[in-house]
């Protein structure tokens, strides 16, 4: 097979990938291009969508401070979520990595498993913990004396960040975990034998080596949080809009599709630029780790 395949040469791989390629061009690239085009079309309450080329929607997004505020809120929530997952997820991955075999795989399953459980169900859990009849989180925080009066979680950005951080946490733990697998445990012992204390080891040995893992996890968490829909929609309610929920509103409630398409296009372009840019930065900074 091998020799024969090699001789059949350049045509075989294209024949094998052709069906998938046609699928992707037909129902992924063309619809995406249509969406970008849609954002330049006109729309009116009574006339519907008019296929002309105007910058009306883009001008509206650029000039109306409502959209600036909404995008700023979207990215603020994504940044805070990313910080929270990094601050808690990285130490947890480190602790997990030091556990003995059976516990390690058990807790890995417990922490990564939620990744595959419905986001609606997980967010519903937070809605129950935040609000409902009793507000379990506030009760708990007050009973341990962390806060004096209840913090409003439902329909606030605080609540969105907490729930999103929970939804995204497995990605961060997974990413740092992968970086820890490449780390030689003997280096830690070597540092100890040379008289380094635990804090010095963490700061000088562990941190620099898991940093690429934290950063690539941060990119995943950031881009998923900035485009999240279910959690902001359920925790944020109808008033506190982020990019994804606003686009949903324009498409299915207001029916101003061109404006919704412009919001979605802007979100996509901003995310691609941020992700590609920070990927390039990280790979330059930590070139030796990725080799």
């Amino acid at each position: 097979m091998s020799a024969a395949a090699e001789e059949r040469g350049a045509r075989a791989p294209w024949a094998l990938t052709a069906p998938a390629l046609m699928l992707f061009v037909g129902v992924l690239l063309i619809p995406l291009a249509m969406t970008v085009m849609l954002s330049f079309h006109d729309w009116g309450q009574y006339k519907g969508i008019e296929p002309v080329f105007i910058l009306k929607n883009w001008h509206e997004i650029a000039s109306d401070p409502y959209y600036a505020e909404m995008f700023w809120r979207t990215f603020r929530i994504a940044i805070l979520t990313t910080l929270l997952t990094a601050l808690l997820g990285a130490p947890e991955a480190y602790i997990l990595n030091r556990m003995s075999g059976r516990w390690k795989s058990f807790f890995l399953l417990v922490i990564l498993g939620p990744l595959l459980i419905s986001v609606v169900a997980r967010t519903l859990g937070w809605a129950l913990l935040f609000g409902g009849n009793n507000g379990l989180v506030n009760k708990l925080l007050m009973s341990v004396g962390a806060i004096r009066s209840p913090i409003p979680f439902m329909f606030t950005e605080t609540g969105m960040v907490v729930a999103l951080a929970h939804v995204m946490m497995p990605f961060m733990v997974l990413s740092v975990w992968a970086a820890l697998q490449r780390l030689d445990p003997q280096i830690e012992n070597a540092a100890m034998s040379l008289g380094a204390g635990p804090m010095t080891i963490i700061r000088r040995i562990i941190m620099p080596q898991i940093m690429p893992g934290v950063l690539s996890g941060a990119i995943i968490v950031f881009s998923l949080s900035a485009s999240a829909f279910a959690t902001p929609a359920i925790i944020g309610g109808r008033r506190l809009k982020v990019a994804a929920t606003l686009a949903y509103d324009e498409f299915l409630n207001t029916l101003n599709w061109p404006l919704g398409a412009a919001v979605a296009t802007l979100l996509l372009v901003a995310l691609v630029l941020i992700v590609v840019g920070s990927n390039a930065l990280i790979e330059r900074r930590y070139a030796e780790v990725f080799r």
């Binding site: 097979m1 091998s2 024969a4 395949a5 350049a10 791989p13 294209w14 094998l16 990938t17 069906p19 998938a20 390629l21 992707f24 129902v27 992924l28 619809p31 249509m34 969406t35 130490p91 947890e92 602790i95 030091r98 795989s105 890995l108 922490i111 990564l112 939620p114 990744l115 595959l116 459980i117 419905s118 609606v120 169900a121 519903l124 809605a127 129950l128 009849n133 009793n134 729930a163 946490m169 997974l174 990413s175 992968a178 445990p185 996890g217 995943i220 881009s223 485009s227 829909f229 929609a233 359920i234 686009a247 498409f251 599709w257 919704g260 398409a261 979605a264 979100l267 996509l268 691609v272």
Partner: protein
């Protein structure tokens, strides 16, 4: 390597509790005997599970989700297996670009995909149809099907194939009797992971689903938008139970860490 200190263990305990709490609370509330949201402090009851039976839209949405997940994951594999074999075995021009394109649905926000599909399927006259949902789900689960099949095809022992060829097998027989059985664990795990992704997707599907083709997450989301009551917790508890079963099977069959590892690093 040193052991975790007491501080680390306290951190770990709180971390795990916070990770599990929202899921646990949904399951606990589902067993409430009360007519309102409350943790089952006075006894367990199955009344809210029985109540699901009175809401045919949830049952219908469940069957839509199940059929959609099974079918779209299967169709995705029909496209992904040949593509994975090509990418694993040949070095050809455009190979990296093709791989990047095939994994791109992971990078494109699902809200953008939902809008693109809605625009596309409405303009070709398939808006709100089950066929549109299938095609859209094939695209979004394709990366998961491809990645696990690719891993199996890359790690495969090629000498067995060569032996088969030397014995006169070729073409279809070679694929059906030798190659496919060898990569089957990867293919089945790819199907399972793709199924879970399809079964759970809300963000993309919410744009495409119409009354009659609403999937379970969409139905649950629309229900929660109106009001949160114990009924939706019992439905969620059922969804969690189904996913957990699939998860445990996947873990036994393939190893969950292998399935999830690299789920995020799409570029490399």
């Amino acid at each position: 390597m040193r052991q975790n200190g007491p501080l680390a263990l306290i951190f770990h305990t709180i971390f795990v509790i916070v990770m599990v709490a929202p899921i646990l609370v949904v399951c606990l509330v589902a067993f409430t005997p009360e007519g309102f949201l409350s943790l089952p402090t006075n006894g367990f009851s199955l009344r809210w599970f029985r109540a699901i039976g009175n809401y045919p839209e949830f049952i219908h949405a469940f069957w839509v989700s199940l059929g959609l997940g099974a079918l779209s994951s299967f169709v995705a594999l029909l496209f992904a297996v040949p593509a994975a074999l090509a990418i694993a075995r040949y070095r050809f021009r455009g190979r990296d670009a093709l791989a990047a394109l095939f994994l791109s649905p992971l990078m494109i926000p699902h809200v953008v995909l939902g809008i693109a599909f809605l625009r596309f399927f409405t303009s070709v006259g398939l808006g709100g149809s089950f066929a549109a949902l299938i095609i859209a789900h094939v695209v979004i689960v394709f990366p998961f099907a491809l990645r696990l099949t690719l891993a199996a095809a890359t790690g495969m022992d090629r000498t067995v194939e060569m032996a088969a060829v030397s014995l006169g097998a070729g073409g279809w027989t070679l694929f059906r009797r030798v190659t496919l059985p060898l990569i089957l664990p990867g293919v089945i795990s790819g199907w399972a992971l793709a199924f879970i992704q399809s079964f759970d997707d809300l963000t993309m599907t919410v744009f495409l689903a119409a009354p009659g083709t609403e999937t379970l997450p969409v139905r649950m989301f629309l229900y929660i938008q109106d009001n949160i009551d114990p009924l939706v917790t019992s439905v969620s508890a059922c969804v969690i139970a189904i996913t957990m079963t699939a998860l445990i099977l996947l873990d036994r069959f393939y190893g969950l860490d292998r399935v999830l590892a690299g789920k995020g690093d799409t570029g490399r």
